[in-house]
């Protein structure tokens, strides 16, 4: 039976040690409890430095909590080795970033292919899937272009196609419209909603009220704690 909770955080703390001799402790998350059901569209909001991105990274197995448990599809991943976490990120999670973060050396097609390369998908299958995804985000004709030859909106659409490459269960976006004008932002938002409509769980860190309005559930974070949750 499919687990109805995709990711669950139980009393998660994240403490960064910074500065010389790592003496300064910064508590990015302070005892976060969160359950994200499969298929949800979740917006995470809050002032900068509140721990939103850290929360997203931990949900996506990009980072491990200092304390507490992270259950990904029911399995505790908080103490997994890097190689196991990499595998989960590769097969189950897609990331979209504010600054697009495409590989500057690869074409649009190459960027969308990248997660499938790391997954060991055969070339023929990979190319077909990458072209299908580029067509879906409306960039089929731009597949040979390098990121430097694409506009911001186009780059972000390539990034979404890349995030969807290995058909993830969870799509995580960190301020995906933050660097885009309103109109372009809307296009990106509709792509996220479209993915959510197909059953992909989406969590978006955002300041953008339009993005927040599209989300079914809004989470407010301040000083590393959840201070508001529609669902609670």
């Amino acid at each position: 039976m499919r687990n109805e909770t995709i990711v669950e955080l139980v009393d998660v703390w994240k403490v960064y040690r910074m500065g010389r001799r790592r003496r300064i402790e910064v508590e990015a998350l302070r005892g976060v409890d969160l359950r994200v059901p499969r298929g949800e569209f979740l917006a995470v909001m809050g002032p900068s430095g509140s721990g939103k991105s850290t929360l997203l990274h931990i949900m996506g197995c990009l980072d491990r909590p200092t304390e507490g448990k992270v259950l990904f599809e029911g399995r505790d991943v908080s103490r997994l080795r890097p190689v196991a976490l990499a595998r989960i990120r590769n097969r189950r999670v897609g990331f979209v970033f504010q600054s697009f973060n495409l590989s500057p050396t690869l074409t649009a097609l190459g960027n969308v292919e990248l997660p499938m390369v790391f997954a060991g998908v055969p070339r023929r299958k990979r190319l077909a899937r990458a072209r299908e995804l580029l067509a879906r985000v409306g960039l089929r004709e731009r597949e040979r272009h390098l990121p430097s030859e694409l506009s911001g909106g186009e780059q972000q659409r390539v990034a979404i196609a890349r995030a969807l490459a290995n058909s993830p269960d969870l799509l995580l976006a960190d301020e995906p419209t933050g660097n885009l004008d309103t109109e372009t932002g809307r296009g990106v938002l509709s792509l996220l909603s479209e993915a959510n409509g197909e059953g992909v769980t989406v969590a978006v860190v955002t300041h953008d009220p339009e993005v927040a309005a599209a989300a079914a559930r809004k989470l407010r974070i301040r000083d590393g704690r959840i201070v508001g949750d529609d669902d609670a």
């Binding site: 990009l62 990331f95 997660p115 790391f118």
Partner: protein, 390 residues
């Protein structure tokens, strides 16, 4: 699978074309010097082997002093000694015997005069050396007052068969002119040994060539000869060298020279390797964010390491391929020049398959090895920090 990572690595290199090429040039210079110097060593060894093969391995030399003690060979090479050739020919297994004595003598031919290397030889000496008579003939048995010239010296002194020259104020008639493989051997003046001994007022020779009789093993004949010399002379002032022994000594010396030159070239390669390391560290720093992204989309540490190792290895390989080509061209040019200036067979082409494959493999390894630490630091980056890197 591997091909995909190779493609990513190539993309990375092409993206910073100028820097990649500069780094490749570093490796190129290193490999060029390694290949050029190692092949030069091989060229010399091949040439030496060839000349020994032409002399024949059934030939022994009797020389004053000891050979094989070190680099220098016999301490008293060139010193003159007396020997009874008839008694020598009685030793079991001894075939033909050739005698040679050499000295710098005062030679005058028309306007030209000066000290020139002169060899006094038994008339059968041409059976020991590969020379070709281009005019006239060799010595006939018992002939006196005749001279045979190398083509070089004949040209220099403007002499032809039938002309006369004076050696130490005695007239000699030119009866033959020979050419040899190497121009170095073409500037000798040959006269009958008895004439030489008369000019010098001694009965001495500088070197004796002995050919083992058919069916006899050279090594055993050499041992018997040494015993005979010791018994008849009462001391070990002469040594018998087989061509194989002499060849070995020369090869060893050339081998050491080659290793020494290769070592110097290795330093250039090391510098090239450090260049690769530097470039790769810079690349890792520059692409920190990209590495973070690769990790975010699920690249394992080992896969990231592979991408960077392939990049540095490729730089090594490209530099190595070009360096091998240039090194081979240099060898070709050096050998061709040597043949043009000094005559054939002074050097042989020294590029072999093992050298080419070895140089290619080695250059890839140097590149990959230099990339090891940078690649490791790339693989070990914390993805969250890498993503935040500006």
């Amino acid at each position: 699978m591997m091909l995909d990572f190779l493609r990513i690595a190539v993309r990375g290199l092409l993206h910073r074309k100028k820097r990649s090429w500069l780094t490749i040039i570093g490796i190129l210079i290193g490999i060029t010097s390694v290949v050029a110097l190692v092949s030069l060593g091989t060229s010399m060894q091949l040439a030496v082997r060839r000349s020994f093969e032409e002399l024949g391995y059934d030939v022994m030399m009797i020389l004053p002093g000891e050979l094989g003690g070190g680099f220098g060979g016999p301490a008293s090479l060139g010193a003159s000694f007396e020997i009874d050739a008839d008694a020598l020919s009685e030793v079991e297994g001894v075939g033909e015997i050739g005698l040679m004595s050499y000295e710098s003598l005062y030679v005058r031919a028309g306007e030209n005069e000066g000290f020139l290397d002169t060899l006094g030889v038994s008339e059968n000496i041409f059976s020991f050396f590969k020379v070709e008579m281009v005019a006239g003939r060799g010595f006939s048995p018992g002939e006196r007052g005749a001279v045979v010239l190398g083509v070089e010296v004949a040209k220099e002194l403007n002499l032809d068969v039938g002309d006369t020259l004076e050696i130490e104020d005695r007239p000699f008639a030119v009866v033959g002119i020979y050419s040899a493989d190497s121009r170095l051997d073409e500037d000798a003046i040959l006269i009958p040994l008895p004439d030489m001994q008369a000019l010098l007022g001694t009965q001495g020779v500088s070197m004796v060539f002995v050919r083992a009789a058919p069916g006899y093993e050279v090594g055993k004949v050499a041992t018997r000869l040494e015993e005979f010399l010791y018994e008849s002379r009462g001391r070990r002032d002469l040594s018998v060298q087989t061509m194989e022994e002499v060849h070995e000594v020369v090869q060893r010396a050339l081998g050491i020279l080659g290793a020494f030159l290769g070592g110097i070239a290795g330093i250039a390669l090391l510098v090239g390797g450090i260049g690769v390391m530097n470039t790769m560290y810079t690349a890792v720093l520059e692409r920190t964010r990209e590495i973070g992204v690769m990790k975010a989309v699920g690249a394992r540490n080992s896969q990231i390491m592979l991408v960077f190792l392939l990049e540095s290895g490729l730089m090594g390989l490209v530099g190595g391929a070009m360096g091998t080509g240039i090194g081979a061209l240099l060898n070709f040019a050096a050998v061709t020049a040597a043949k043009a200036v000094l005559g054939a067979r002074v050097l042989e082409y020294g590029i072999s398959w093992w050298l080419v494959l070895g140089a290619l493999g080695f250059s890839f390894l140097v590149g990959a090895f230099a990339g090891l630490l940078p690649a490791r630091s790339a693989a070990k980056l914390d993805p969250v920090r890498a993503l935040r890197y500006e």
